[in-house]
Structure formats: C-alpha cells, structure tokens
C-alpha cells in the first residue's frame, strides 16, 4: 500500500512539471528584462493584478456575462445539433437534402457572421449568442452525424432480432452507443463556444471577458490581457474536467476498449 501511494505522488508531480517549468521561465524572462514590460509583464505581477480584479468583482462580473452568453448560445446549439445530427444519420434522404447547405455553411468561421449578427440583432447579448450558436451548431452537427453513421450496425441488427422495433433500437442501442461520441462533441463544442464569445464580444457589448480584453488592449494593459486569457483558460479547464468526469462515470464500460491501455504502466487488476 505504501508503494502505490509513492507512485501516485510521483505521477502527480509529473503532471505539474511542464506548467511549473513554463511559469518559472516566464517569470525569469520577464524579470531579467529579456522582453519589454509592455510585451510580457512578470507572472507574479499578472497574478497579483488578477487577484485584484477578482476581489473588485470586475473579473467575475465579466466572466459571468460571457458565461451566460455561452450557456444560451451553446445550449441552443446542443438542443438542435445533437438530435439533428442523429436524425440526419438515421435518415439518408434527410441527409442528402441538407448536405449542400451544411457544406456551404461550414467554412464560414464565426467571426464572419459578426457584421450580420449586429445588423439583425443589434447590440447586447443577442448577436453574441447568435454567433456562438452558429459556430458551435454546425460543428457539433457534423460530428454527431459522423458518429451516428459509425454506430455498429451489427449491434442494431442484434437488437432487432431480440424483438426491438425501430424506435426501441434507437433508444436502447443507438443512443447508448453514441454517448461517448456525444460527450466528446460537447467538450469540443464548449471550447469552440468560448472562442466564439471572445470574438463576438469584441464588437458591441458592455461586459464580458472578450470586451475586457479589448479594453485592456486599448489601454495597453498587457497584464490585463493575460489575466483575461488565464481566466478563460481556467474556466475552460474546469468545465473540461467536469465533462471528463461525467464521461468516465457514464462510460465505465469503455475501460477495456481503450487502446491506450496497451501502453499504460501495469496496474493492479481486481
């Protein structure tokens, strides 16, 4: 028991080694004035500034504003893209009918929609929500469609021959098969949503992390820009971890199917 505890301590350290090394490099480089203070302020200064902004409520207020837009836009996209992708995957005529439109919309990066969004939705939350929706919906739709088409047809046939009708096959085989892929789509989509909100906020809003970063740039506060980036990174990390935890709980049965296990160090098997 003592041995296993020692091993896990070392592997935890290994995880933090790279970020720690980068942090030291950053601090040293900035302090030694290898770069101008406006280009890269020292890490400790940035962290202090970040703490100050946190206490003053400014940072949390902006994060909340952005998070709200992400929630609305991404939530809407989720509700449409996941069932939509599954429907397209199960009904080839539907997929054929929409294929041209989807291919045309795909290369349009979210920032390309900004002028139109402002024109249609004016100022405030609406254009940002719209841009997040457009950006994440098409990506998740395509991903879900691909995952649906990749569902093992043999498993579907098995369900049928055990007495399932079409709807039962969808509910009891196709949907459970898709859970890992859908969770991946959600993780990717959420990351994309945060990128979209930053771009969308750089145009016409009152609060939000993207707005905060534009303001910081216009006032040449590089430290603040970095604080904004770190805030987004932390939020992104947090939600990612949550989703990974969810995936682990919902997909315990995948443990044996993970190819990475071949290369992992030997663990105790029950």
């Amino acid at each position: 028991m003592y041995k296993s505890r020692r091993i896990s301590w070392r592997s935890e350290l290994r995880r933090w080694l790279l970020p720690l090394a980068l942090a030291i490099l950053w601090e040293a480089g900035a302090r030694l004035a290898l770069a101008e203070p406006m280009l890269l302020p020292p890490l400790t200064q940035v962290l202090a500034r970040g703490w100050h902004l946190l206490l003053s409520g400014r940072l949390l207020g902006d994060l909340a504003a952005s998070a709200w837009r992400v929630l609305l836009g991404f939530g809407l996209a989720l509700v449409i893209a996941l069932p939509g992708g599954i429907a397209l995957g199960l009904y080839p005529p539907l997929e054929r009918a929409t294929a041209l439109l989807l291919s045309a919309l795909r290369p349009l990066a979210p920032p390309a929609w900004i002028p139109l969004a402002i024109l249609w939705f004016g100022i405030g939350d609406a254009p940002a929500v719209f841009i997040i929706f457009i950006g994440t919906c098409s990506s998740m739709l395509v991903g879900t469609l691909a995952a649906t088409k990749a569902v093992d047809a043999q498993l579907v046939k098995t369900a049928l021959t055990l007495g399932a009708n079409r709807w039962q096959a969808v509910r009891h085989v196709i949907l459970p098969s898709l859970v890992p892929a859908l969770l991946t789509q959600v993780r990717l989509g959420l990351g994309l949503a945060w990128m979209c909100v930053i771009a969308a906020e750089m145009v016409a809003v009152r609060r939000g992390v993207g707005f905060f970063m534009v303001e910081a740039r216009n006032l040449f506060r590089t430290g603040d820009v970095l604080v904004g980036m770190m805030a987004i990174a932390i939020v992104g990390l947090g939600t990612d971890r949550l989703l990974l935890g969810l995936e682990r709980r919902l997909c315990r049965w995948r443990a044996g199917l993970d190819p990475a296990r071949l290369y992992a160090p030997q663990e105790q098997r029950p």
């Binding site: 043999q154 498993l155 443990a255 044996g256 199917l257």
Partner: protein, 245 residues
C-alpha cells in the same frame, strides 16, 4: 405443412451496376424441434438465408412460412445468433440477457428470475455483474446464447456461432448448445462438415452461386455424436463432393 417452410427463396443483390444472384428458388422444410445444419462452401448464401429467415433482409422473391403464416419482418420468435457475440458493451452480462425481456415489457422480478435461470444453465451464474470486455470470448458467446434462449423463441437461427471459438472450448460448447436447445427448432450454419455431422438431426448441403439445396442427409443417433468411423467416412464423402463442385 411443416413448422418452418422456405418456399422458393431467391435473393438478388445489385452492386456496382451488376447484379448477383445469391439464392435461387431455394426450398426447405423444417419440422418442429428439428436441428437442421446448413453447410456449403463460402459464397453459397448461408448467412443471407439466415438473415432472410430472421427477417433482417427481405427476399427478392419467395416466402418464409412459420406455422403456415408468412413472415413480414424481424421478430424475437425467430432470433438470430451471430458469429460475433455482439453483446451490448455498456450493459453487464445480466443486463444483456435481460435485454429482450425488457423490450417485451416483462416486470423486473420475473425478468431477474428468468435471467438468473438462463445464466445458470450456461454455467455463468457468477459473472452476471461483469461487463462484456471482462469476459472471455467463449463466455461472451454463451451469454449471447442465454440472451436469445431466455426469450423462448420458436426458431433459433445460429450463424457460425462457434467459428471464433478455440477448438478445446468448441466441443464443450457444442454439447451445451444441443443440451440447452433440446426440443427447439434450430437452423444452424457452419463451414465445418464435422461440426455439422456432430450436431445435426439433418444436414442440408448448399451449392454456391446461386445458392440452392444440393443434398439433404438425415442422421441417426442422438447428437452430439461421438466420432465414429462411419461419421468420418461421411465427412470425407461430403468433402469430396463439395470440392468436386
């Protein structure tokens, strides 16, 4: 009228602009409780035939009659067991076996009892809580068998279920299959002539391209049959016949 009747089954596939006739006017009668084994070289449409009887594929022409009534689509009364166990990886062994019963709406307590019984008969009572990836290939195939049998189907269709199983386990499973399928109507497909002769009440030999019934051999004695000289001679005879074409 026999229990299961295949009437002039034909199946045509269209691929790359050309059409392939997989089965042509194939007819077969199976009596209730009979264990029929279909053998033949690859490409003779054995799998296609089973899929048609299971209702997973439509025949291009002809009918399948069960107790005199034509079948229209798939159903648990004609359940098919595949070459791969095809267990649902997100369900435990128990939950896999309970799958069909859940679909049929059987209440939980009765379900549990039936599942427990089915697994017990396969000798898998202790592994009920394990996930498929934690079971060996042979165990998985047995769970698949339990999953089908617990539904008490009228016809059991088996598509080379022991092909992926090693030789040592195979003979044991052959015994188990005959034991648990006692009294059931079975259509069993295999590429192994020996296996056919060990298991079958009647062996039906199919010829390829297009698939048709070439010869039927009714066997005597209780299955699974022990290896005898006569059996070996019959095996050689059938082999030569198949090679000769």
């Amino acid at each position: 009228m026999s229990f299961l009747q295949l009437v002039q089954i034909s199946k045509r596939y269209l691929t790359n602009g050309s059409s392939i006739l997989a089965l042509q006017d194939l007819g077969l009668s199976v009596e209730r409780g009979e264990f029929v084994v279909l053998i033949g070289p690859s490409g003779c449409g054995k799998t296609t035939l089973l899929q048609i009887v299971a209702g997973l594929e439509p025949a291009s022409s002809g009918q399948v009659l069960l107790e005199g009534r034509p079948i229209h689509h798939w159903g648990a009364e004609r359940t098919l067991i595949f070459q791969q166990p095809n267990l649902f990886p997100w369900l435990t062994a128990e939950e896999n076996v309970a799958f069909g019963l859940r679909l049929a709406g059987l209440p939980a307590s009765e379900r549990q009892q039936a599942v427990h019984q089915a697994l017990g008969r396969m000798g898998l009572a202790e592994v009920g809580r394990l996930y498929p990836h934690e079971l060996s290939g042979g165990m998985q195939q047995r769970v698949a068998l339990a999953r089908a049998l617990v539904l008490d189907p009228q016809v059991l269709l088996m598509d080379e279920p022991l092909a992926a199983v090693d030789a040592l386990l195979r003979s044991r499973l052959q015994r188990e299959i005959r034991a648990t399928c006692a009294g059931k109507t079975v259509l069993f497909v295999t590429h192994s002539i020996r296996e056919a002769l060990i298991l079958a009440d009647r062996v039906v030999i199919l010829s390829p391209q297009p698939g048709q019934v070439r010869r039927e051999i009714t066997l005597t004695g209780a299955a699974p049959r022990p290896p005898t000289l006569e059996l070996a001679r019959l095996e050689e005879e059938i082999e030569h016949e198949l090679i000769a074409g």
